[in-house]
């Protein structure tokens, strides 16, 4: 009856839902205080104490119920499903689903792309966010600028995908381009300007990136070789990981440099950007970076404002220039916040589904794990492999989960 009119249905739900919640809390408290443990008679004192022991659980029950059934139970159920096969009527098949998944090229493509996303998106968003935070804090119309950069946060991934599809749009060569990227691309003709903008500038950026990576990696690795430092054993894997990852990134950027100088650019031909393998990943990442930079900026800007002014004043008195103040005084003091922003964006990246689904649906080598999983679950109807890939996402999230819980517990003490 109500299903005929969704708006009415929604309204009735709000009334019933909210009413039921409030009613539950009120009545359960009432029953507890007057029926089960009445605060009168010979056992009044003991009853009050008992009621107060039960009451927190009354308050917690609906939330705990929702968390258990909708978040905790599915983790284990998904783990179980990943070890069974739907077509065999849910029989236990051990690691078969994982084995099948590992043999698929599409899975490894998704893993490789996800790694790329995990490195590029948090790094670029945080860097842009830090830059925007620092710059906007120094000018009068900074708040307006902040709210405009923050705005994409409110736009859905799907909406953002449409926005960027228009930017990447391609028309045949003899028509006016309506996508900005192609319009800009066609204005390059291979002359000096093109060499400067498309080869020299990216080379400088790549070299700078490689330099930063090398520096960060060295910071982590040097403690292994240096003596007399803190050599706690459990940090060793992290240090090695950062070192190896750093080397890989340097290799990637240097080989990119080679590509810049030794490949021919197809000047004058409109490109279908989303179908160019490898590069299309970056075009998709730009969408998420565009959305997440505002988030990083807002949080880092608050952290920058929290820096004690004395430290900055002292640096100025000592003759530090603005760059030194920023990198040597401010950034070290907000390192904790930078890590929080980084991990939060990392979590978003791991779950990114809508952008890939709406823009390429994983074609042209742009698959990511979340979309791969959706594909398996709802198109191939293979719940086993789908669950297995969900477990892979969970595994990737787990280090952050442990780190967060560890920090939360440390704070509460």
């Amino acid at each position: 009856m109500f299903t005929e009119n969704p708006a009415l249905l929604g309204f009735v739900t709000i009334v019933i839902g909210v009413g039921a919640c409030l009613g539950y809390f009120y009545l359960s408290n009432l029953v507890l205080d007057t029926v089960i443990f009445p605060a009168k008679g010979s056992k009044a004192g003991r009853n009050i104490n008992r009621a107060n022991m039960v009451r927190p659980w009354l308050f917690l029950f609906p939330a705990l119920f929702a968390l258990t059934v909708y978040l905790a139970y599915p983790v284990f159920e998904t783990l179980r499903l990943s070890l069974t096969d739907r077509s065999l009527d849910g029989a236990f098949v051990g690691m078969d689903n994982y084995r099948q998944m590992m043999n698929e090229a599409k899975f490894w493509e998704a893993v490789r792309n996800n790694m790329l996303w995990l490195i590029v998106v948090p790094a670029v968003s945080t860097a842009f966010g830090l830059l925007a935070a620092q710059l906007t804090d120094r000018i009068r119309w900074g708040n307006l600028a902040k709210s405009l950069i923050f705005m994409p946060m409110a736009i859905s991934f799907v909406g953002a995908s449409v926005i960027f599809k228009l930017i990447y749009d391609t028309r045949p060569a003899d028509q006016n381009q309506i996508g900005v990227l192609n319009a800009v691309w066609l204005s390059f003709d291979g002359g000096l300007g093109s060499v400067l903008a498309l080869q020299v500038l990216p080379s400088v950026l790549l070299l700078a990136f490689a330099g930063v990576v090398a520096y960060v990696a060295w910071l982590f690795v040097r403690d292994i070789v240096a003596s007399g430092r803190d050599r706690s054993l459990w940090l060793m894997p992290l240090r090695l990981l950062v070192g190896v990852g750093g080397l890989w990134l340097i290799w990637v950027s240097l080989s990119g440099l080679g590509g810049l100088w030794f490949s021919e650019f197809p000047y004058g031909e409109p490109q279908t950007w989303l179908t160019v393998p490898m590069w299309n990943n970056f075009f998709l990442m730009i969408v998420l970076i565009w959305i997440q930079t505002g988030f990083a900026m807002v949080i880092l800007s608050a952290a920058l404002r929290g820096i004690p002014e004395e430290t900055v004043e002292a640096a100025i008195v000592d003759g530090a220039n603005p760059f030194q103040i920023f990198f040597k005084i401010k950034v070290p003091q907000i390192m904790g916040t930078i890590v929080v922003v980084w991990t939060t964006i990392t979590l978003t990246v791991l779950k990114v589904f809508d952008i890939v689904f709406a823009m390429t649906n994983g074609q042209w080598e742009t698959q990511v794990l979340a979309n791969y999983m959706y594909d398996k679950l709802f198109r191939a109807n293979d719940w086993g492999v789908g669950s297995a890939s969900a477990i892979i996402i969970m595994l990737l999230v787990t280090p952050i989960l442990i780190w967060n819980v560890y920090n939360a517990r440390k704070e509460m003490r």
Partner: protein, 382 residues
Amino acid sequence: MASIAGKKSGLTWAVQLSVAALVLLWLFPTVGLFVSSFRSADQISSSGWWAALFPSEQSEVYRTADPDDTRVPDGDGFVVTGNIFEDAPRDILSWGVSSRDIAAFRPGETADMKDGEQLTLQPDGSYEWRGSADQLKGRGQRIFVTATVPPEFSLSNYETILFSGSGQDNMAKAFFNTLTVTIPATIIPIVIAAFAAYALAWMEFPGRALLIAAVVALLVVPLQLALIPLLRLHLEIGIGKGYLGVWLAHTAFGMPLAVYLLRNYMVGLPRDIIENAKVDGATDFQIFTRIILPLSFPALASFAIFQFLWTWNDLLVAKVFLIDSTGSTTVMTNQIVELLGTRGGNWEILATAAFVSIAVPLLVFFSLQRFLVRGLLAGSVK
């Protein structure tokens, strides 16, 4: 910061310019979509949206009225008069009568064609075409005009998307479906989470620390893991796919953040107020509804905004728990994805549909930004 030392930084201008560049870069994509939503299909496919903001130079072909009906005797021959711009006047730069030389004349000049045939075009578009009976017959004379065209925008795309469009092109139903999903899914978790947060913040009981840690852990569990088990559960207990399922799912998925945000806020409320109330004989239920809830308004508002934006913009949860094969409960995000598939080149439809769906979150964002920022800071900066 440099002003502390008593000298104005020389970098100020560079900073102003870089911020302006950054803001423009960040606005540019959205503005593109916004402008495109006011252009017709022809306009969108003939030029980039950035060209639409300025008067543009365009070459167009017009034809005079057909001489057989409209010519009038004049001296030795005939004349046809009229105006080529019937409804939209243009600023003529140059014109011509042959496709080989479309910019031969300036407005006001007279073109001498063969054997005394003449055509005069005035700057306002009115023309006089003179000639003999042989020359002025058949179809009207072609006139090639190069003119500046003022920017033209219309609301007709919005009319199509919101009212007159049929089938997939009409977003009205999806708009209300989205609203139906969003509002209960925003309000109900707040009520449930507020009670739990109060218990975790101000009630003493064994296992409290463990529960808080569990909430922090669940905060990062990807909801991808929940899809299949919950869909199976919903199908088993008879909820199936529908609004009830999606409300429950959104309520639960928003719960960790809600409990976490609200608990952090409530813990910071002054202890004196609560203890005084207890001494005066208030029950926990009264303390919660009369003191804690009103004081926690900012935190409640921030979570409400988060949850609203998240449920409004969501695609995955709606696809899994709500939208069945009939598609009658589709939400806007899903409809846009379908439009991307079927109407990929029809930018007037796509841009308008996307803008309709992002207009509401943008409105919420700009009017309630204060609370959103506060919530973000409470949620992540520790």
